[in-house]
């Protein structure tokens, strides 16, 4: 119960929102609206799963938006050249993994702070893409590209199924496979993780690579919704994705976070904007409200942490560690 407090709180908030909407603006639950919401937020969720992995190790990747744009364009270009959606997907994935690998190796092996590394790659990748495409969108995509060549009604089902599979596999690995524990351990206490025999540098590299690949998948899922691919896709995506993970309970210093939490975070933050419109509140409040939700989530953590810290320090006789070296 206590372990899943964040998930339960989020579920309750979402349920409350649903009740309010059902009472005041039942139009929100029209199939069309829900379908749109769903399609728009699915890519965010996939990228957020990857981001949660990165945050669990105590790092962050703010270059997802730029990676997302590159992967989208790569998917489109490969689809045009080969005519194969599968190949396009593979290329998007591989591009994401490679870019994630670049970020990851700078963080893991050169020990550069991830926020600096990914800030640099965010800017550099975005401008590299601009130089490459000269701002042009990818058009004249092959017929089989949009909706994966499926009937428009069938696509959401297929996409939804694959996202569920992706989410479940990740959550399962993180919970029940040693490699998942290695990620939590690295984020929780890196020195202890190294002593326990984990190669923490490799763990960090791996989460960046996986997060990159997930960004590639997200880019593909987003691109097939349209018949052309903008070269400026994914602007501001990093904020959505990071916010969802944090609202979902991921601790920015690492070691803590769950995938169900991230899922609920995406749902809440994604649902709140259109809900405002339906409730007759100006859409300008959307961002302010999202910000308030993030602050509330982090605030609860801060208060809780302070309390447990006080509980953990015994009243007297506490020792400081022996001094290192020849003191």
């Amino acid at each position: 119960m206590q372990r899943h407090r964040r998930e339960i709180t989020l579920a309750l908030v979402i349920a409350a929102l649903a009740v309010v909407l059902a009472a005041i603006a039942p139009g929100y639950f029209a199939r069309e609206n829900l379908g749109d919401l769903f399609l728009a937020n699915m890519p965010v969720l996939v990228a957020a799963i990857g981001m949660t992995l990165v945050i669990l190790t105590g790092n962050i990747d703010i270059s997802v938006g730029s990676m997302f744009a590159i992967c989208s364009v790569v998917a489109g270009v490969v689809a045009k050249m080969s005519g194969s959606v599968a190949l396009a997907g593979l290329a998007a994935c591989a591009t994401g993994a490679a870019l994630g690998g670049l970020n990851g190796s700078l963080v893991a092996y050169l020990r550069m702070p991830s926020i600096v590394v990914t800030l640099a790659t965010m800017v550099a990748l975005r401008d590299a893409l601009r130089w490459w495409t000269e701002g042009a969108w990818v058009q004249d995509l092959p017929r089989g590209f949009q909706w994966f060549g499926l009937p428009q009604a069938a696509y959401p089902v297929v996409a939804c199924a694959s996202v569920i599979v992706l989410q479940s596999i990740t959550a399962w690995i993180m919970r029940s496979v040693a490699a998942g524990r290695a990620v939590y351990a690295t984020g929780s206490n890196e020195d202890a993780a190294r002593l326990a025999g984990f190669n923490t540098a490799r763990v960090k590299l791996a989460v960046f690579v996986v997060a990159g690949a997930f960004t590639g998948i997200a880019a593909l899922l987003n691109s097939v919704r349209f018949n052309q691919i903008p070269s400026n896709a994914g602007i501001g995506l990093e904020m959505k994705v990071i916010a969802a993970a944090i609202v979902g309970g991921a601790a920015i210093r690492g070691g803590e976070g769950s995938f169900t939490g991230t899922l609920l975070g995406v749902v809440l933050l994604g649902a709140i904007g259109p809900a405002l419109t339906f409730l007759g509140v100006s859409a300008y409040w959307e961002r302010a409200l999202q910000g308030a939700i993030i602050l509330a989530a982090v605030g609860i953590d801060a208060v809780r942490e302070r309390r447990s810290l006080h509980a953990a320090i015994p009243a007297a006789g506490r020792s400081t560690p022996l001094r290192a070296g020849p003191a």
């Binding site: 040693a178 984020g187 206490n189 020792s319 020849p326």
Partner: protein, 521 residues
């Protein structure tokens, strides 16, 4: 019925230590002539230490005698400069943390190295399980194993609890369970009882007795000599990085042990001047800070006086200084500055009241390495060198130049970065910062730690000068010669409070150590 259950548990624990029955080796660890230097400072000089199966071998010594360094070498965290280490009769040419663990060496530190976000069961499993990264985790088995290990120590810790929610002793218990589970043959316990209650200590001793029955060797480091008398078979005394003696515990009295630990002459000459102390500059009464464990501290210090505060690492000396300086405000007791009772809630209040504090770790808290000497020196007294809210660089440089000259800071100019100076000169800059506020009371925490001999003498001379000018100085130091040589009076701390205050002539190293160890008061 009950008895039968007990036996079952014992049978299990026997099967857990297969090595000791299959290997005919009784000499578990044989470290010979280990030497290690850090940045030119000799931490260990030809130290030898051995450990037999089923033995508890205590390692004792003052702060900085080299115990921690030795442990780091045995656990593979540091590589020795010279010497050999043999484990179970086989020489180990190279030791790193992995090899050390695979050889059955486990260390339990004062500060547990656990994963705060994970559960107890996961923490225990994490370092015990072997296998590929892609193996499935059997969470039920992890929980069972954790319960079993915890039960063997007699600990009542919930295997499903998150470690962050545990108290310090509970975390320590988890560490011990980890070592037990690893089938360690050599268990190193570094001050294991520092944060345990008496009942928990008894339990721990029960565990140690059981380890010993199973042929495990225990290296036991503690400042609590009565514990050592109770648990150790042999005792090795380290002093200044050298092995002074290895004796059977039964053959050595407590007094002799203390003498062996101290056993040195005052090697430095301290320039003590006779100063008639003035009125009381700072007095504290029953000062208590529950969060840091400092309690019921009372002392006073007069103008022109140097009060030395001695005590072991962890006795609360730094915490006391931080309480007085307002970093961790007191929750009970009185602070009286120049005759007026005051409350100090923040360092800025302390500074306004004329209290200065040069912290122990000057690199972390005292000075900014990237800034110039002038900027560092003026950081606590910007108002004095500012005009209309703007810093007057010329005034700043003049002031810094004055201190640089007075302190004999060796630097081409006051514009150079502090990071480029030697440790001694850095410390002088840290002092200069406080002197520029002309404090009435100056608290110095380990003022000469990591400082070369020449600068050390200069800092000592400077302290005497300041006292002669009427400043009250509180000097925290782990170095007994410094304490004895510099102080007008010596307050000795143990377990968070001042146990005794010695007058200058009254104290010697053995007396101070005895109080610091909690044997006399």
């Amino acid at each position: 019925m009950r008895c039968g259950m007990r036996n079952a548990v014992f049978a299990f624990s026997f099967s857990c230590f297969p090595f000791t029955f299959s290997l005919p080796v009784t000499l578990l660890l044989d470290a010979r002539n280990i030497s290690k230097s850090f940045a030119g400072l000799r931490a260990l000089n030809r130290v030898s230490f051995d450990l037999h199966a089923g033995e508890v071998h205590a390692l004792v010594g003052e702060n900085g005698a080299g115990k921690s360094t030795f442990i780091k070498i045995v656990t593979g965290a540091e590589t020795p400069d010279a010497g050999t280490i043999a484990v179970a009769g086989r020489e180990v040419p190279h030791l790193d943390p992995h090899i050390s663990r695979d050889l059955g060496i486990a260390a339990i530190y004062q500060q547990p190295s656990l994963f705060p976000h994970l559960t107890v069961a996961e923490n225990i499993a994490m370092s015990l399980e072997r296998g590929t990264l892609w193996r499935r985790i059997d969470r039920e088995a992890r929980r069972r194993r954790a319960s079993e290990l915890l039960e063997r120590i007699g600990a009542s810790v919930d295997p499903d609890a998150r470690v962050a929610a545990l108290t310090m002793p509970e975390q320590q218990v988890v560490e011990i369970a980890k070592a037990l589970g690893a089938d360690a043959r050599i268990v190193i316990m570094d001050e294991p009882t520092a944060s345990l209650s008496e009942r928990e200590v008894e339990r721990l001793f029960g565990v140690i007795a059981r380890l010993r029955e199973h042929g495990v060797g225990v290296i036991y480091i503690s400042h609590r000599l009565e514990e050592i008398a109770a648990i150790a078979d042999r005792i090795t005394v380290l002093r200044d990085g050298e092995t002074i003696a290895t004796r059977p515990a039964a053959d050595v009295s407590r007094a002799e042990l203390i003498r062996l630990m101290v056993g040195r002459e005052l090697e430095a000459v301290f320039p003590k001047r006779d100063v008639a102390p003035g009125e009381i500059a700072l007095e504290v009464k029953a000062l208590t800070n529950r969060r840091t464990g400092v309690h019921d501290v009372s002392f006073s210090v007069r103008r022109g006086e140097i009060l030395g505060i001695a005590g072991l690492v962890g006795s609360g000396r730094t915490q006391l200084a931080e309480t007085i300086f307002g970093l961790t405000p007191a929750d009970a007791g009185e602070i009286i500055v120049k005759g007026t009772a005051v409350r100090i809630e923040s360092p800025s209040q302390a500074i306004a009241l004329g209290i200065g504090y040069v912290p122990e770790d000057r690199r972390q808290h005292g000075i900014v390495l990237e800034m110039s000497i002038a900027a560092n020196a003026s950081a606590a007294s910007l108002a004095a060198v500012s005009r209309g809210g703007l810093i007057d660089r010329a005034a700043e440089d003049t002031m810094a130049g004055r201190y640089a000259e007075r302190f004999r800071i060796k630097a081409p100019s006051v514009a150079v970065e502090v990071g480029s100076l030697s440790g001694g000169n850095q410390q002088k800059v840290a002092l200069a910062r406080w002197l520029s506020t002309s404090p009435a009371v100056l608290i110095l925490d380990e003022p000469t730690q990591g400082v070369d001999v020449g600068s050390k003498a200069e800092i000592h001379a400077l302290m005497q000068e300041l006292a002669a000018d009427g400043m009250a100085i509180v000097m925290i130091s782990s170095e007994l010669p410094e304490i004895l040589g510099m102080s007008d009076r010596i307050a000795v701390m143990h377990a968070g409070t001042i146990r005794r205050v010695f007058a200058r002539g009254e104290a010697d190293a053995a007396k101070i150590l005895a109080v610091a160890l909690g044997h006399e008061s």
